[in-house]
């Protein structure tokens, strides 16, 4: 009854513990030397520690590889350290931003702010007075109207690129790409020039929504195009072989097959414009009171609310601005996770 000992699969090429000892010693030494330098020279503080650690790590890794192997290996070690630091630098700001938003915004957050507006609240009133109901309603309006305007145009553009594939498809694709780079302030100026100056209208949520629609079209069009490209052409050919016209094939086969992807495109577009501020500053007027009519009169949106309170500058106004930012980030992140959820659930499109 002797159990046969099954040999564990060995990896002779793998790095064993003995070979990592020099690296570990070097890492510990690096940190110790850094502490020593920070302690015995005038360089003090967290910033100095980080900078010195980075420099010592660079020198140490270069020296070790250089001594053990050659100059090429030293260069490789240096670049490895730098690439890891670059990776770290990308993550750090997001961590800081999310942490600060929650820390500074949570204080002004309560259910009450979703039921009142700022119509009768002074800028230095305590945080439990007033709220951002008017801004939430405004954001809801402009995002809805912007979607209604931009989604058909965006999807039609994508259909033109994937279904009709006309002679101008390359040009159209190029211009859609360029359009996604329009500064948001220019979209605001354009709507101001058309809607206010040429047609003589006043500030309204609708004007803001039109500016946002301009910014939303390229996002919707490009994402929809990616999605429609993934629909196998077998499906289209099957539809045509059954005697369907192109219109019927697209409407009854291609679009239903791409449904979840197209919804993702719309939500991505919404996430793109929900936090836009600059075009709203030129088109919406920025009210403090709730305005239920999106086609007439000054109205507000959450980014505008944040902006106004930031410019007021009093202590409570700044706290309100941070609460607004927190609400805005929650909304954007909800939309963002929705896109992940929808496109992840189906697995294919």
């Amino acid at each position: 009854m002797s159990t046969a000992t099954i040999p564990r699969p060995s990896k002779p090429w793998g790095v064993n513990f003995k070979q990592t000892i020099p690296d570990l010693v070097a890492a510990v030494l690096t940190v110790l030397i850094t502490f020593a330098i920070v302690a015995y020279t005038p360089m003090k503080g967290k910033l100095a520690f980080v900078v010195v650690l980075f420099l010592v790590a660079l020198v140490a890794s270069a020296a070790i590889s250089g001594i053990r192997r050659d100059r090429k290996a030293a260069l490789n070690s240096v670049s490895t350290v730098m690439v890891y630091v670059a990776g770290l630098f990308v993550i750090l700001p997001l961590g800081s931003i999310l942490f600060e938003i929650i820390k500074r915004g949570i204080g002004g957050l309560s259910l009450g702010i979703f039921t009142t507006d700022m119509a009768v609240t002074a800028s230095d009133a305590p945080l439990n007075e007033g709220g951002l109901l008017h801004a939430v309603v405004g954001t809801l309006y402009i995002v809805l109207i912007a979607s209604v305007i931009s989604v058909p145009i965006g999807i039609l553009t994508a259909l033109y690129l994937t279904e009709i594939k006309g002679k101008a498809a390359g040009t159209v694709r190029f211009f859609v790409q360029a359009m996604s780079g329009i500064p948001s302030i220019v979209a605001g100026l354009f709507i101001y020039a058309v809607w206010m100056i040429a047609f003589g209208n006043q500030y309204s949520a609708f004007a803001g929504a039109m500016a946002l629609a301009l910014l939303m079209i390229p996002t919707v069009a490009r994402t929809s195009e990616e999605v429609l490209k993934l629909i196998p052409s077998d499906l289209r050919e099957a539809g045509l072989a059954m005697g369907g016209t192109q219109w019927r094939t697209v409407a009854m086969i291609v679009i239903p097959a791409a449904q979840s992807g197209l919804i993702t495109a719309v939500i991505l577009g919404v996430a793109r414009v929900a936090g836009e501020t600059a075009p709203l500053l030129l088109t919406m007027g920025g009210a403090d009171a709730l305005n239920l009519n999106p086609f007439d009169g000054n109205s507000s949106a959450i980014p505008f609310y944040v902006w106004k309170n930031f410019l007021l500058g009093t202590e409570t106004a700044v706290d309100r601005a941070w609460s607004g930012v927190l609400v805005l980030m929650i909304i954007v992140l909800i939309f963002f996770s929705l896109t992940r959820f929808i496109s992840g659930r189906k697995g294919r499109v």
Binding site: K72, L94, T245
Partner: protein
């Protein structure tokens, strides 16, 4: 049994003539497809039309001059509009942003493509996507209240040790709201763009060449230097230009962290800078109809510049991606 000759059914007409419904469908879709061209055309038309008077009266001085003087009506003096200082300031903060963002983004893209352990790749791509989705006003507030105190300290250090270089000189003790700080905020905003485009380009490097480099005994860095960089150079440059385009057009985040002054200063640490986009928001509130026209003209210049940069960037990226 009588036999009748079978009558042949009439020949089926096969035609490629599209049905009426298809004609309508194709017309509607083509119309929608061209909307982006139409919108871009309308934007330039309306901004140019509104700004035309200013272009006429100011001429080339609108681009090169740096006075923005709006006299009171009772003074009866002619107004002066020149965005030279703002254009200069825009370029300066854009370049500062690229100076910080470009190495970090390329490094991060390399990290994601060739260095990161597998379990880390997905969360890090998620982090970059979330960063790209953060609204600019959030960056603005964060930049003003969180980053600025630190950045002022860094600026003082730079001035203390590198002050002999003219651009780090300080005529006055005012370190806040400088082009340096605006550039830092913009750098953080454009890092996700450059990183994700560089990563896409790096992912297209042919695997056989990478393995060939390793087989010849190359270290990871030699492989990157000899295979990845030559292959993806164009795409990375295009990505950087897209980032620059975003930085130039950014309005709100720059406005919050930059003190806008109509003057050309080479000292980047000093609290005085310019940005065309932020200037428009800055002046818009109390602009008279005449000044509004000048703002439209500025918007037109901004629109042209960003459109040009985007055209060029997309051209380079598409060409690299196709090869």
């Amino acid at each position: 049994m009588s036999t009748t000759a079978p009558t042949l059914p009439p020949k089926r007409v096969i035609t490629t003539k599209p049905r009426f419904s298809d004609k309508v469908f194709r017309a509607v879709v083509t119309g929608g497809g061209f909307s982006s061209l139409i919108i871009l055309g309308l934007i330039s038309l309306f901004l140019l039309y509104n700004g035309l008077n200013v272009f006429r009266t100011e001429g080339l001085k609108f681009i090169t001059g740096f006075d923005w003087i709006v006299p009171l009506p009772e003074e009866g003096l002619p107004a002066q509009y020149g965005i030279g200082a703002m254009l200069y300031g825009t370029v300066v903060i854009g370049l500062i942003a690229l100076f910080f963002a470009f190495p970090i983004s390329v490094g991060a893209a390399l990290f994601l493509s060739y260095y990161a352990p597998n379990w880390l790749k997905k969360p890090m791509v998620l982090v970059i996507d979330v960063m790209a989705a953060i609204p600019s006003i959030v960056f603005g507030l964060w930049g003003f209240f969180v980053l600025m105190p630190h950045a002022e300290y860094w600026a003082k250090l730079i001035h203390k040790y590198l002050g002999f270089i003219p651009i780090f000189d300080m005529p006055a003790n005012a370190f806040s709201r400088s082009p340096f700080i605006a550039g830092l905020v913009l750098a953080i905003m454009i890092i996700p763009i450059i990183t994700s485009i560089s990563r896409e380009i790096f992912a297209q490097t042919p695997l056989d060449r990478i393995q060939a480099a390793y087989a010849l005994g190359a270290t990871k860095w030699s492989m990157i230097k000899t295979v990845v960089f030559p292959y993806g150079r164009g795409g990375v440059v295009g990505g950087a230009m897209l980032g620059l385009g975003r930085a130039i057009g950014e309005t709100v985040a720059v406005y919050t962290v930059l003190n806008i002054v109509f003057d050309i200063r080479i000292e980047v640490l000093l609290s005085a800078g310019g940005s065309v986009a932020s200037m428009i928001v800055n002046k818009f509130g109390e602009a008279n109809p005449d000044e509004l026209k000048a703002l439209m003209a500025s918007g037109f210049v901004l629109f042209l510049v960003t459109l040009l940069i985007n055209f060029l960037a997309n051209f380079i990226i598409n060409r690299t991606a196709r090869e």
